[in-house]
């Protein structure tokens, strides 16, 4: 992949990008993802516990 070596603009941009603060919608995305994910994992873990593997 030759792209990284041939794009000095991107390198400069990565070095000196101004910080963009997290927007409320981004915080919501992160928060809801983690909340739903953890709830689902707990639900699946309970399922895993009460419905044993069939051999």
């Amino acid at each position: 992949m030759g792209e990284p070596q041939t794009n000095p603009d991107l390198r400069d941009e990565l070095r000196s990008t101004a910080v963009e603060p997290l927007l409320p919608i981004e915080k919501k995305l992160i928060g809801w993802s983690l909340t739903i994910g953890l709830v689902l994992l707990v639900g699946l873990a309970l399922f895993n516990h009460f419905v044993p593997v069939t051999f």
Binding site: P4, R11, L29, L38, L41, N48, V53
Partner: protein, 494 residues
């Protein structure tokens, strides 16, 4: 995997817009090999000439045709037949993708012979023999015990040497350095192999599939959110960089970062750069994680399989690492007198990875909707559209499902005299699957120029990847795999 993956990775050699995508080509080629293999059920052996390699200490005895019916070809003849067949078929595929066919065929010649030579070297008895009985058989008193699948490690190392010490040669053969195409074909074929493996244990297989759902939740809802937060908050990346990076690290490397980049309307170069980083880190994972799995998880084989599927990014690296892990763990257990049926660890790693892949399009749409309606919302902005979900759906998964369903039907739904021949028939297709694994590993190595990591500016990208992968993704993956797969062992062989 996105249809667009390789068109982004090799933009400079595109001659015209292809009429078919790489994903659909992988489905066609994988199904072609599968169907040809099934002709053996009608006593017509069409692909038994494909070459297979055994562990050796006499090079002349290392190669042979897969089927005894083609034994007269000898090892060299089978190897040559395999090379010619693959060159013709893949050159036709290159033509369909509107690539330069002559250039592809020449490059593929180099790729095939170097990759397969690496595989053969990896099968040398002092590298591959595992049990004391095997060592005795070959008259040797030491071995690295890498198993035959250790040949994949040799293939990736050969690719790494070319990428980092012979960059001009790497550039010359890049037309045929296509890990995504090779692994997609392999995964289509793998569906039939997994079907035959699980046919006698459908209860266990369905239990494993249900537990695979946890991988989807983990990758999309836990990993992504944490990596995005780390990239934005701790490393100060812009949204345009952080979203493809989070998808690359969390979901499925190359495909997910490109799908996400497209969905949030990021510049293509951002996704390409993230993808190159994903491939490089996948190399480290492939070289390290299977051996850690063998050392610490050999008594929890399916935890190991799920962990590899969750932790190793890019389909090629993950599925092939699942194969190496399976060989290493089966070998260690065999040395302790426990012989597990092969296919279950690889099947678990593949199932986990395929489950994760399925939702790339939906996740990209969700991100695209949020970005185009809430973050970069302007009246003239191109909004995310629902049809993009189908556009980004990894089509090769359709091939995987078809070969799995057909394989399962043939093994369970046909008369006994047909069903008993199904494993051997699909075994011939599986030999091709191994060859595509070898090509994948070599190609991943060739794409991994470590100089990329040391360039100014990219160190910060690599730092996010390193912190997320080794500080979080691997360990959470291990925890979840342990919760859902511990205590489950593959059936015993025989």
């Amino acid at each position: 995997m996105s249809d667009t993956t390789l068109n982004h990775v090799h933009p400079q050699t595109t001659l015209a817009a292809p009429s078919i995508t790489e994903d659909w080509l992988a489905v066609i080629l994988g199904l072609l090999i599968f169907v040809l293999a099934l002709a053996a059920l009608a006593n017509v052996d069409l692909i038994g000439w494909v070459v297979t390699t055994s562990v050796w200490n006499n090079l002349g005895q290392s190669l042979k045709a897969t089927s005894k019916g083609y034994a007269s070809l000898g090892g060299a003849g089978a190897l040559l037949a395999t090379y010619v067949a693959l060159t013709v078929v893949l050159s036709a595929a290159a033509a369909a993708l509107k690539r330069d066919v002559i250039r592809f065929a020449l490059a593929f010649t180099a790729v095939f012979w170097i990759a397969y030579a690496s595989w053969v070297i990896g099968n040398f008895a002092n590298f591959a023999a595992v049990t004391p009985a095997e060592q005795q058989k070959f008259g040797i008193n030491w071995s690295l015990r890498l198993t035959g699948e250790g040949g994949l490690i040799f293939a990736i190392v050969a690719g790494l040497i070319i990428a980092n010490f012979f960059p001009r040669f790497a550039e010359a053969i890049k037309e045929a350095v296509r890990p995504e195409l090779y692994i997609k074909i392999a995964i289509v074929i793998l569906g039939g192999f997994i079907a035959v493996t699980v046919a006698g244990r459908l209860g266990l297989a369905s239990s494993l599939i249900l537990r695979g759902i946890a991988a989807i939740v983990e990758a999309y809802l836990i990993y992504w959110a944490v990596v995005y937060f780390v990239a934005r908050k701790w490393f100060g990346f812009s949204r345009e960089w952080a979203a493809p990076l989070a998808s690359g690290i969390s979901i499925c490397g190359v495909a997910a970062s490109i799908a996400t980049g497209g969905a949030i309307r990021a510049r293509p170069a951002v996704s390409v750069l993230v993808s190159s980083l994903v491939v490089i880190f996948a190399v480290f994972e492939v070289l390290i994680l299977p051996f850690l799995a063998q050392a610490f998880l050999s008594h929890e084989p399916l935890v190991a399989g799920a962990w590899i599927g969750l932790a190793v990014k890019t389909d090629g690296a993950a599925v092939a690492a699942g194969g190496i892990t399976e060989s290493l763990i089966l070998a260690k257990n065999a040395a302790e007198g426990v012989r597990y049926q092969p296919g279950w660890i690889l099947g678990t790693a593949t199932t986990v990875k395929v489950f994760i892949d399925i939702f790339i399009g939906i996740w990209a749409f969700v991100l695209g909707y949020i970005w185009t309606n809430h973050i970069n919302a302007t009246p003239d902005r191109d909004k995310a559209k629902a049809w993009e979900i189908w556009q980004r759906f990894p089509k090769f998964i359709i091939g995987f499902v078809v070969t799995f369903a057909v394989g399962l039907y043939l093994a369970l739904g046909t008369p006994a005299d047909i069903a008993k021949n199904v494993p051997a028939a699909i075994g011939e297709a599986n030999t091709f699957r191994v060859i595509f694994f070898i090509l994948t590993f070599f190609s991943i190595g060739v794409l991994s120029n470590f100089k990329t990591l040391w360039q100014d500016g990219f160190g910060k990208l690599a730092a996010v990847y390193f912190v997320s992968l080794f500080g979080f993704v691997i360990w959470v993956g291990l925890l979840i795999s342990w919760i859902f797969f511990s205590g489950i062992t593959p059936p015993l062989a025989g």
